[in-house]
């Protein structure tokens, strides 16, 4: 305990503040989740009784989320995008980690700052700048060669690239931090014991990085899953879940099915977050 201030009244107040803060943190999530079980057509008070219809019912008007094809398709796209983004960004994050921890090249500091930059560029701007570039290229090619490069048009690929552009910074930082803790002599020890360079990488270095790679992958997946700002500009006809939900909310009308999705996501993300924390925990040494 690092607070010699043992004044009990002060500590009580402090604890109360901390408790209030966590209530503040949880409140909207609880609200968003709880109304999923309200047997009403509107996500609002009064409480009409408990129901699971918003998850499992298969007929309108109370179409449950597991029967709502559009939501499920959004979920599916989110999933695909998340997997692609996290795989790609873990890969590049890993090469970046090696580059910046092991590599020695001119202007390394400058490049390192470049690597961090995407994290602080507003997502909206990342989205539009990539949209603009891709469209310009596509239009240019179309005008000149009369060739339609469909992959440069809003769609899954651009969404993946847009999210990848800043999620890679996150994965790079996570994996770099781990690689910095790597005791280089471990590689020398493996070489000394007779392993080839490839064997060293496969049996010592990568296994050491694995927890960070898994954690980075999960973080990347979750950030991708919840991303809105960047995706908004890059989405084509395959909308991921956040966009689907937003459209539903803003253009159709929200029913508690959105709460059901929220509940589902809160629980799912919570579990994933727990896993990522668990894999990263080092054994006590």
């Amino acid at each position: 305990m690092a607070n010699p201030n043992k004044n009990p009244a002060f500590m009580f107040g402090y604890r109360l503040y901390v408790a209030a803060f966590f209530i503040f943190l949880a409140a909207p999530l609880i609200a968003a989740g709880a109304f999923a079980f309200n047997d009403s057509l509107f996500p609002a008070l009064p409480w009409q009784g408990f129901t699971l219809d918003w998850f499992f019912n298969d007929t309108e008007p109370k179409l449950g989320m597991f029967h709502d094809r559009r939501l499920l398709r959004g979920l599916y796209y989110s999933f695909i995008i998340g997997i692609l983004v996290s795989t790609l960004s873990v890969f590049v994050g890993t090469t970046n980690a090696f580059l910046f921890v092991r590599g020695n090249f001119p202007a390394k500091n400058f490049f390192y700052i470049l690597m961090i930059l995407p994290l602080v560029i507003p997502g909206v701007i990342l989205g539009i700048s990539i949209l603009v570039l891709a469209s310009n290229m596509a239009n240019g090619v179309e005008d000149r060669f009369n060739l339609e490069l469909e992959f440069l048009r809003p769609g899954i690929l651009l969404v993946v690239l847009g999210q990848f552009s800043f999620i890679t910074t996150i994965t790079s930082l996570v994996i770099t931090a781990r690689l910095k803790k790597f005791d280089y002599s471990m590689e020398e020890a493996a070489l000394n014991l007779g392993a080839s360079r490839i064997q060293v990488l496969r049996s010592v270095t990568l296994p050491f990085l694995r927890p960070a790679m898994i954690a980075a992958g999960i973080v990347g997946f979750l950030v991708s899953f919840e991303n809105f700002n960047t995706t908004l500009f890059l989405v084509g006809s395959e909308s991921p879940l956040t966009i689907t939900m937003y459209d539903r909310m803003a253009k159709v009308g929200s029913t508690p099915v959105l709460n059901a999705v929220s509940f589902f996501l809160i629980v799912g993300s919570g579990l994933l977050a727990l896993i990522s924390v668990a894999v990263q925990r080092d054994p006590p040494s």
Partner: protein
């Protein structure tokens, strides 16, 4: 031969980095700047010029919105720091070993749920017929329903809510690295609670504070959903302005100019903050 291999592997490692930064960050931003320098003179006819920027300067609505976004983002950053610091301190320094991990996790959970759901939750709580208002009426504290939504205070609160985790996480990690003995030494040498906070804890946590502030400020200035969904009739956010240029006005040229202006403006604020606090990007954001 040894050095050839080294060079080759350096190139192989550099390639993905270079492709990423060049194709997804640098070129798009250059493209955006180039686009922003195109003036529309007639349908499908464009000319090079600073017209979009001149429009921005000539139209108080635009720069007012940018200033408003900037100042509210600074306010949100300060509030997040003030609210988050005691929490981070509690987690890093006061909570017991086991509850520390749990509290930290609790802090993170909202992070993994999208803005949309969080804003949705707030709407359910705060609307005139929402949970709060109903509760206040039920408890007899008020007789009329109260609308908590659609005002700047709610927007600020919602933004603080959305970003505070990005303040707490770097703070916890810097405070965690601080030897408890340092605080005790501060008291032992005669400091009171306030001196220890001001002269020891805060200076020590400075990299974390700055890092948290940068990320929070940038996220706030760049946020879209929260101000849109919780904001009232008077609240406009610069990202919304950009969105409108792109989406409802089909004016990509001025949208690109706005995007560039937002980036330049926020970067300037961050640069100023770094200068004032004597920190650098590399030893703050990169560390957390």
């Amino acid at each position: 031969m040894q050095s050839d291999i080294k060079r080759l592997s350096l190139i192989l490692l550099f390639a993905p980095f270079a492709l990423w930064i060049l194709l997804l960050i640098i070129l798009p931003h250059l493209g955006m700047v180039v686009l922003s320098l195109r003036e529309k003179v007639a349908p499908r006819v464009y000319e090079f010029g600073f017209g979009n920027y001149i429009d921005f300067i000539n139209e108080p609505i635009y720069w007012n919105t940018l200033l408003r976004t900037g100042s509210m983002s600074i306010l949100v950053t300060i509030l997040a720091l003030l609210i988050g610091f005691p929490i981070a301190y509690y987690i890093a320094k006061i909570a017991g070993r086991r509850s520390r991990g749990a509290l930290f996790l609790l802090c993170l959970i909202p992070l993994w749920v999208s803005d949309l759901i969080r804003a949705f939750g707030w709407i359910l709580l705060l609307r005139e017929t929402g949970v709060f208002s109903s509760f206040l009426q039920w408890s007899g504290m008020v007789s009329e329903p109260i609308e908590f939504l659609y005002n700047d205070v709610t927007v600020v609160m919602g933004l603080v809510y959305t970003v505070i985790l990005f303040m707490i996480v770097p703070l916890v990690s810097t405070l965690d690295g601080m030897d408890d003995a340092m605080i005790e030494a501060g008291y032992n040498l005669g400091g009171n609670g306030y001196t220890v906070l001001r002269r020891i804890i805060v200076p020590y946590a400075m990299p974390g504070i700055v890092s948290g502030c940068i990320v929070v400020f940038m996220m706030t200035a760049g946020s879209y959903l929260t101000p849109i969904l919780l904001g009232g009739k008077n609240s406009s956010w610069f990202t919304e302005q950009i969105y409108d240029q792109f989406i409802t006005r089909f004016n990509w040229e001025s949208g690109a100019a706005f995007g560039f202006l937002l980036l330049a403006f926020t970067s300037f604020v961050v640069w100023l903050g770094l200068k004032l606090s004597g920190q650098t990007l590399a030893n703050t954001v990169a560390k957390s």
